[in-house]
Symmetry: C2
Subunit: 258 residues, 2 copies
């Protein structure tokens, strides 16, 4: 047992989402993007999460997108993305989330991704099961795909990748959400590009517990701590299912920089 | 004046959205897609809208994605997409909507697009103003774009189009919503592919009122009734702003079918 009270962590994620929702309409009403203002929302949520975590788990480290790392060399380190999908949030789109991951020895262990606009949270306690709200989820059980299936891609896929996938592609604006949609079996894969560790700390734990895998585009499965140098992935990543990995990989090709 | 009570039409759109939301979690909980069941939701909303419209505007025609056309040769014809973005809806994604458009002489005149998961509706009364909820909206005022700007694309853009746009692309799953995001000035354009008239009947009216334009990918601006043969666009469409149209068009190319 991890000794982590998941019900409480889920509450934190949803409370973080409620903070974001309070800012959401104000942002959407602005004509011009005000990055400073949004960063203020990000920082407000991260500060809230850090306070809760450090009070409850004083022996754990904390890293996050906004604040300074704290004791990042501990066995257990929380990895926070207070607002994953900030651009989508600023633009008034509904796919963005609060991501709270717990790393153990640098690898995703458990976590929660709350998607406030859908009133749902995805989570795992690190014991092998993943959930959407209180319903167990699993990746797609399919062993093949056709034009009705879909994958998620980054917002620069049209210039960065050659994609020969015969189905559909979607790009919704939040990598944490993209991991969850694969974990629940809606999408059969997601091209994540070069995520930061905080983007996927919770998402990868959830995905693993739901039966998914993360691989580099050349098919390698390196240990996560080795893949993330200074918190950013060194090679482009794909998440999918074990059964579909070998069929999907050849259809997604990183373009060279001419 | 159109003589249409827009407050009432907005209520219908939101009530249609509430019907959809009641089905939403049930759909999301299913492992395997059950198209029949979803079609039942679609039909339920369209029937609700037809009843309201025919009681209030008995002299108007009605067409829709699900039901039979009624008096489709009248001056005023309502064009309904009870659930635009059905695939996204089935997959548990939050971008889908209820689209109620009114055509006059076959061209988009006024309409409402309700996006229930974002608790918002976009609308115009055909008198030259567009709104998100009660706030006036306009397309982007920019006269140039860079890598921070974004456009919306279809879910088959990776195989159907060559896109050299230097910014970001998103594909959210609902053409009606895509039109609204351009109308509000978040996205600077949207490649719509070959929409059906009901997909964009409301969206085009809103977009026009917000200052946007719809063009074919070869830069033509045909009258809408001539472009839609048997309710489907005969040529691929782009919506954008007048100032950006000429810069955007050369960056989006329909691929030939080899």
């Amino acid at each position: 047992m991890s000794g982590i009270d998941m019900a409480e962590v889920r509450t934190w994620a949803r409370e973080g989402g409620a903070i974001a929702r309070r800012h959401f309409n104000n942002v959407a009403a602005r004509r011009k993007r005000d990055r400073t203002w949004v960063t203020q929302a990000d920082v407000e949520i991260e500060q809230f999460l850090r306070e809760r975590i450090s009070a409850r788990y004083p022996d754990h480290g904390i890293t996050g997108e906004e604040g300074e790392p704290f004791a990042a060399d501990r066995e257990f380190v929380w990895s926070l993305d207070p607002l994953d999908g900030t651009d989508a949030f600023v633009d008034g789109l509904p796919v963005w989330g609060v991501s709270i991951g717990l790393l153990r020895h640098g690898a995703p262990y458990l976590g929660v991704v709350a998607l406030p606009m859908a009133d749902e949270d995805y989570w795992t306690d690190g014991q092998g099961n993943a959930y959407r709200n209180d319903t167990p989820i699993q990746v797609s059980a399919a062993d093949t795909f056709d034009r009705n299936d879909w994958i998620l891609v980054t917002s620069r896929a049209h210039t960065d990748y050659t994609i020969r996938f015969p189905g559909k592609t979607r790009s919704l604006g939040s990598l944490a959400a993209h991991c969850c949609y694969v974990a629940r079996g809606s999408a059969i894969g997601a091209v994540l590009g070069y995520p930061h560790l905080w983007d996927i700390a919770a998402g990868f734990a959830i995905l693993n517990a739901a039966g998914g895998v993360a691989v580099t585009l050349d098919g390698d499965l390196p240990p996560i701590p080795r893949l993330f140098k200074q918190s950013k992935a060194a090679r482009p990543l794909l998440v999918t299912t074990p059964a579909l990995r070998d069929a999907l990989l050849p259809l997604i090709e990183k373009r060279g920089r001419a």
